[in-house]
Symmetry: C4
Subunit: 272 residues, 4 copies
């Protein structure tokens, strides 16, 4: 432990309030922080609405700068009280904390950049820590583990789908032509993605009979192959969730399949 963070020092106490949620003060700080984050995100949204921007432009500007100065002050406090400032500054939350204040300063030079302030919303991920929802984090880890486990299969699958989209999109460009809204291959590829993911805006739609026939085939293809990633994730999710069965074999009867918490073999009764 560094000297300046010895228990009782003002930095240690501030660190506890700002970074931890164990003490009443730390808990109150975190709840206030979440409220402030929600309010500031709301302010950004309101500013984007024309009617509100015109009538309350002054008030919104003040609120925005208020939140920004508050968050900047908090960011500096975090840098000061943390034991390894550089490590914090380059961590996920450190970067998010910085991104939550930068856009306001940038908007002085580049008007419009302040809308990036919605990135503040990411700060709210701390909510899981505040509410002591360790269980939720564990669940999130299970999901991430399943996704990581299926990453390679999903990559191969997406590569195949993208090849099909590229080629079928170009075909549609040749079939429908620019008169029917398929004005270029990139636009046709955009249409193919809209179709195969079953989004279907309808801003571009095939007009010729052969184009509609090909589109129908693409829809049925897109509708069917969604089963592939679902199947993959489903299997991986099962693996990630059922990791509770111990791989330990009974020393007496050598049978496996015991629960992690089991202390006696369920087949012969001898201790594990």
């Amino acid at each position: 432990m560094s000297d300046s963070l010895q228990p009782g020092s003002w930095r240690a106490r501030l660190h506890e309030i700002i970074f931890e949620a164990d003490t009443p003060a730390g808990r109150t700080f975190d709840l206030l922080l979440i409220l402030t984050i929600l309010l500031s995100t709301l302010a950004v949204m309101l500013e984007s609405m024309q009617g509100i921007r015109q009538n309350w432009s002054q008030e919104i500007r003040i609120a925005e700068w208020g939140f920004t100065i508050l968050f900047t002050f908090e960011y500096i406090l975090r840098l000061v009280t943390v034991r390894r400032p550089l490590r914090y500054a380059t961590s996920f939350f450190g970067v998010v904390d910085l991104l939550a204040v930068l856009p306001t300063y940038i908007s002085l030079v580049l008007p419009g950049a302040q809308y990036l302030l919605v990135l503040r919303f990411l700060r709210i991920l701390r909510v899981f820590r505040v509410l002591k929802l360790a269980l939720y984090l564990k669940e999130g880890e299970i999901i991430l583990r399943a996704l990581r486990g299926s990453q390679r299969k999903i990559t191969v699958f997406l590569f195949g789908v993208l090849s099909a989209i590229l080629i079928l999109g170009s075909l549609m460009y040749m079939i429908e032509g620019e008169a029917n809204g398929f004005t270029s291959i990139p636009k046709s590829i955009y249409w193919a993605i809209v179709t195969m993911t079953t989004v279907g805006y309808g801003d571009i739609a095939p007009q010729t009979t052969i184009g509609q026939f090909l589109a129908a085939c693409m829809m049925i293809l897109g509708y069917s192959i969604i089963a592939v990633p679902t199947g993959i994730v489903s299997v991986e999710m099962r693996g990630a969730m059922k990791d509770k069965v111990s791989t330990q074999a009974c020393p007496s009867c050598s049978k496996e399949g015991h629960d992690v918490e089991a202390r006696y073999c369920k087949h012969c009764g001898s201790p594990l």
Copy 2:
């Protein structure tokens, strides 16, 4: 048992007719009730159709008040015959029964409120009890158990998706601008939800090339991550349906949670 509900009293007999479906009278009552519910729901729907409202406004009004008085009378009867009126009034079906009559009275003050009468349709959930479809209730319980089991994972998943929607929606507002229909951040978020859930109305659609590129990425993302909740529910559903964990408690240490095939307690080693 309270005195007034002793077998043979008029309240006990009414209770049996209104609340149970074992006797012929109770069965007939419930079938008539379901028919009345369906008819009254139909009446609400018909009233909302302009052509019909103009030509039969008188008849519909009368039918509505008829059904309301009938249901009010039934609600009072239920309150009178049940042993614990307060417990009934605050139960799910008690609240639904009240909501099925209130809107008509409210519509005297607030015209238009009568359309809330479609809440009457919820009363029809009693149909499962009437038809003695205990099996259906069990199936419903399995679904609910699976959903409850996956609740935390789904929460984490939805939180992640909503963060992505919030940030991508704001980005699209900055890219497309108000000229292309993305008139505010809330509207852009609405568009992002329409896109990522693959609904795709097409009332707002990206016009710029970079906007269409980002939209295409969002579609592929939305199309792929639907595999996550499906995988979660799939695994939980399997757990809820194949619940092979025996309900048997160990005769020696009283602990539960043994596998069906287990022959010895996994906690203390004594035979099951």
Copy 3:
């Protein structure tokens, strides 16, 4: 066996040609039949296209009557050669065979009825028998078994979804009102179904902010709960497909889990 169907009689021989696909003659008959069905379905489709109907109305009419007389003659032959005519006439294929000719006769009285002739396409289900694709029939049975197994759960699920659609649709009618295209509760329910199944035509779309918020919630709900039927069918499908593991226990070591084709216990080697 009835006398008239004794081997060698003309009825027996005709029966073999028309109903079976074992002999070369029967196989040829069935292949010709499938070709005729495809051609007649094509004729119906062509007739529905305005350009073709105007120029070849005479030819199409003749073809239609030709196919109808042919199929009528075949239907009579089937009735004559089959042992139990009534049982055939009321079977699935008997009804389909009748429906494949009736519309032409009805169209004499009711013009337009001839488009029902597409029902002829159902006759093509015989293709599975002709091509001796017993394996396909078995696969179809597995799917049907899984669907039958999940029928109750799907019913409960659909009932829940329909209740939500009914109530949310009515709410949207009250929120958006007739000015925004939600002209009646039935139309609002239609919109709710279009939205929650993620079809999203866009012919009706919410215009008010609160309506768009509710719609966004419905989309996320619809996007999430599709996991439920998928999970149900997934589990049932697994059960229907993995019925291959025998329930037989080894007579010597009493262990289970043997394959259906296993002839020796895989644990102790004694014969099953």
Copy 4:
């Protein structure tokens, strides 16, 4: 081995560079090839964009011919250095390599054919070999195995869905009529596919009440039955991924297909 491909000959060395990715030269060649493929695909896309085509038509034409001559030269080199030219020419990659150059020559006679050059993108599948991503190939094989395993069930399923689409589409043609955009049975079938796959363009949408009711039923059907292919692929994927069947053959009867845990042959009973 043929004489001309003995180690050290120029053909053998060229073969190693062009076909393999083990040596530094071969690796460099493959990376350059992938870059060239990406650039040439990009060129085709750019040419399809009207603004770019008009201003840089000269440059794009030159680039296209440059790439084509390069790929033609490479194709000839491959034919020359490979041991069995005919086998290469008829292999998947051989055909793709040919299709990647043909369209430019065809476009001399048939303007517009050059857009087929996007087929070049398929050549990029080599990327998996270059990056030594044997693991990815294995994952792709697992996906293909699962798809092959579910092929028959998917066929039966698609046949059922197509029958439903054909009949419901024709019904909609009769209900809605040509005035509401359902101008012919093929177009109605196109609409039915758009609806049941939940794509929902909205270019054609039912206008009559009964048509909207039928459409709503079709949407719920389409939304529900997507569970079927997902369930099928999910189960097959699990089988393909968890292939626990040992590849061990019985030393006594040589039969395969034993479980991993099996200790005795299930066919003849001798120990494994």
